[in-house]
């Protein structure tokens, strides 16, 4: 650990302010608590909100995991993991089961999370109504008055134009029958997993908002009786591990239209292959092959 930084980079007063916001967020599930977001040593859009929330909840004994679209080995995930190794001295892991705090960009791990785990989301636009109503003064009133008709109109227009609700990520949810919330740009495949045993914290750095879902909070994806919500994924099995239930990325293989589908959750795929599962284009797993 680098002793030139305070534990987990942020100064104590900043952490106290963020911690108070997290507590109010947990007390009012789905409500976006304003907080005085700090400049971080990375640009907005790279997870500054998630990083500030993680820095405020980490303890020295924790093991941390960071994923970007499900992958542990992409630039954003690697940088943030290194940031906390350096400034907080915490252990890191790519295994979902070993992590106490998981910071994520746009995915929920395939493996069910436990009660003692914390999932921290990086959020670009926390306001689910923002693209329907650009004025903060108005969206704030709409939440206060529980005036969410506009969101249903948007979903209805999806159906009238496309024959189905075409929103496929950042699919709006209603929390405990009160606040409409943006679950961050996770695929709608992940929406049913928002009701989980772990604590979920959402941090939006540029937009200066923190919100939260306590464990087992009731989260309902908005829909209509005749067009019920559907958690969709590519109609395919993972080509590496053969899983038919995981969320898939489509990877272009060559200039001739060759492609393969692979699990977006790299740890899930890796552990399945290690257990002997082989997909259509996969090869038997060898230690250190990855």
């Amino acid at each position: 650990m680098n002793q030139e930084y305070n534990f987990a980079y942020l100064d104590e007063q900043t952490k106290r302010m963020i911690r108070r916001a997290i507590l109010k967020g947990l007390a009012i599930p789905g409500y976006q608590v304003p907080f005085a977001s700090r400049e971080m040593p990375m640009p907005y859009g790279w997870g500054t909100g998630g990083v500030q929330v993680s820095a405020s909840v980490l303890t020295p004994e924790d093991t941390m995991k960071v994923i970007d679209q499900g992958a542990d080995d992409t630039t954003n995930a690697v940088s943030i993991r290194k940031f906390f190794e350096k400034t907080a001295g915490v252990a890191t892991s790519e295994e979902t089961a070993k992590a106490d705090v998981i910071q994520t960009r746009h995915r929920i791990p395939e493996e069910d999370l436990r009660e003692d785990q914390i999932l921290v989301y990086q959020v670009p636009i926390p306001e689910p109504l923002r693209f329907l109503e650009p004025r903060e003064t108005e969206t704030r009133k709409m939440h206060a008055l529980e005036e969410y008709g506009l969101m249903h109109v948007k979903l209805y227009e999806d159906i009238s134009k496309n024959g189905a609700i075409s929103t496929s990520y950042a699919y709006p949810v209603k929390v405990e029958g009160r606040y409409v919330m943006d679950p961050s740009p996770i695929p709608k495949f992940d929406n049913p997993k928002l009701e989980m045993a772990a604590i979920q914290l959402f941090g939006a750095g540029r937009e200066q908002r923190i919100y939260a879902l306590p464990p087992y909070t009731k989260v309902v994806s908005l829909d209509f009786e005749d067009y019920p919500f559907e958690a969709s994924k590519a109609d395919h099995a993972c080509d590496l591990c053969g899983s038919e239930t995981s969320y898939l990325d489509e990877v272009i293989m060559d200039d001739a239209g060759g492609r393969m589908f692979v699990c977006s959750d790299t740890d899930f795929c890796h552990s399945r292959r290690a257990a002997g599962h082989v997909g259509a284009q996969g090869v038997p797993f060898e230690e250190d092959a990855a």
Binding site: F7, E12, R16, L26, A144, L145
Partner: protein
């Protein structure tokens, strides 16, 4: 100022506050759960759990209300030295500390407004005992039901009725802490 005001803080502020906050967050996220909260040694009559919570969450931006026996010079000096939090009446308090009867009436505290419900006061109630029996709790953070020996279930029911406005509670006893956010539905035993 007595010398006692200068002692009893965190030994390693960043690490101790991080561990303390984990316990505080866990109980707020899981109403009815009781956790151990230590690290600070406040002067009497404040409990260790309430003192540790104070050092974890208070600073110059959080007006504090001390009620009843807790409103004593020793404790005021201790909070001022360690946190710098200004003292205030209940109508301006971000945090209030005291025994249940001293904190009443509940309608004197800010409960937030419809556009900013987060501006409600957090009350830290010193309890003679803390047990997972008594009133039945349901709501966010609770899988089926939980139970906690609440001081006055009817008053806390009324608080939950105001959701999303309302007060949030911590209950402390010695070095143990539990919480009851406004989102929890309370049913008297």
């Amino acid at each position: 100022m007595h010398a006692t005001a200068l002692t009893g803080g965190f030994a390693e502020a960043p690490q101790d506050a991080a561990r303390a906050f984990r316990a505080v967050m866990n109980v707020m996220a899981r109403p009815g759960l009781i956790e151990v909260l230590t690290g600070a040694e406040p002067p009497a009559p404040m409990s260790r759990a309430a003192g540790t919570l104070a050092l974890t969450l208070l600073d110059g931006n959080t007006p504090v209300h001390l009620a009843g026996a807790l409103d004593c010079p020793d404790l005021r000096d201790w909070i001022t030295f360690h946190t710098g939090a200004p003292f205030a009446g209940r109508e301006h308090a971000a945090f209030a500390f005291g025994e249940w009867d001293d904190l009443l009436p509940l309608n004197g505290y800010p409960i937030g407004n419809p556009e900013y419900p987060d501006r409600g006061t957090t009350l830290v109630v010193e309890m003679p005992a803390l047990e997972t029996t008594g009133a039945t709790l349901r709501g966010p953070g609770i899988k089926d039901t939980a139970a906690l020996n609440l001081p006055d279930p009817a008053a806390l029911q009324a608080n939950a009725m105001q959701f999303p406005l309302g007060l949030d509670f911590f209950f402390t006893c010695g070095d143990r802490i539990a919480a009851l956010p406004r989102s929890t539905k309370v049913e008297a035993a």
